[in-house]
Symmetry: C2
Subunit: 148 residues, 2 copies
Amino acid sequence: MAQTKKNFDFEELLNKHQLKKTAPRLRVLSMMSSKTSATSQPDLEEVMSDVDRVTLYRILTAFEEKGIIHKVFDLNGTANYALCASNCEENHHHDEHLHFNCVECKNVYCLDDMHLPKLEVPQGFTTDGVTVYATGTCPKCNKKKTPK
Amino acid sequence: MAQTKKNFDFEELLNKHQLKKTAPRLRVLSMMSSKTSATSQPDLEEVMSDVDRVTLYRILTAFEEKGIIHKVFDLNGTANYALCASNCEENHHHDEHLHFNCVECKNVYCLDDMHLPKLEVPQGFTTDGVTVYATGTCPKCNKKKTPK
DNA sequence: TTAAGTGCAAAATCTTTGCAAATGT
DNA sequence: ACATTTGCAAAGATTTTGCACTTAA
């Protein structure tokens, strides 16, 4: 059960959430599933430039409400979207994983499998969630920098 | 050397960065220093509603460039600003502390003194910075919830 | 057929830019 | 007096809303 989001799952996924299978929606899902990193809204808009911007907004909103994708802001405040892991439910996301923001290519990687260290907070604070952003260089960009 | 940013330091601070002491700038500094949490841009705009919005944008940009304040986006993508610790230099911020985002009052607390646990990243990634966002309830809001 | 989704137009925000007037040094 | 800073007007960009047309089921 390693990779759960294959292309032919998208119909089912939309069905499950009572969303009709339309071309723009399938393309959004397809694009997100083809990447290991989250997709920034500007990138999405570029690829989907033939559909109305409003439509894209509505698709993203709908997907987020249904728990199909989750939104994560990178360190520049830009919204990035990624498919949710299977344990996301409607309006209740489990995105307490590590978000890695590459300073070279700006991509945001959702490193789901990383275990996050326990966090201590001062007296009086109670935490219900932790999101960790790491900045640095991703493997792809590291390779470019060390061509040998 | 516990609290470094007293009111009478602001003149000096602006001087040091070759910025003129103007009323709006002093008010921004005063507001930020009076709070233990970062100040959201909407909050700033409300308090500073008598000065032009453009002026506020420029003040914040200038302060950030000079390393007087740093910007941190909360989990809703809203910009929040806080005075930099003294070890911030121009265009090179040290804000690798814990940002605590209260789900009740939406405030962002910069918990400078917390030590952040070492983070493991997968093969190929190299990190140069870590920002941790915790969500939860801050002491103030916890008190409200448990009135006794 | 009909409820849901899309596209277009337009409003509402948010952010940036240019320039003249005001202000700090 | 002079360089900065502010305010205003306007341009640009982003996001939201309303409604008619289209499409999936």
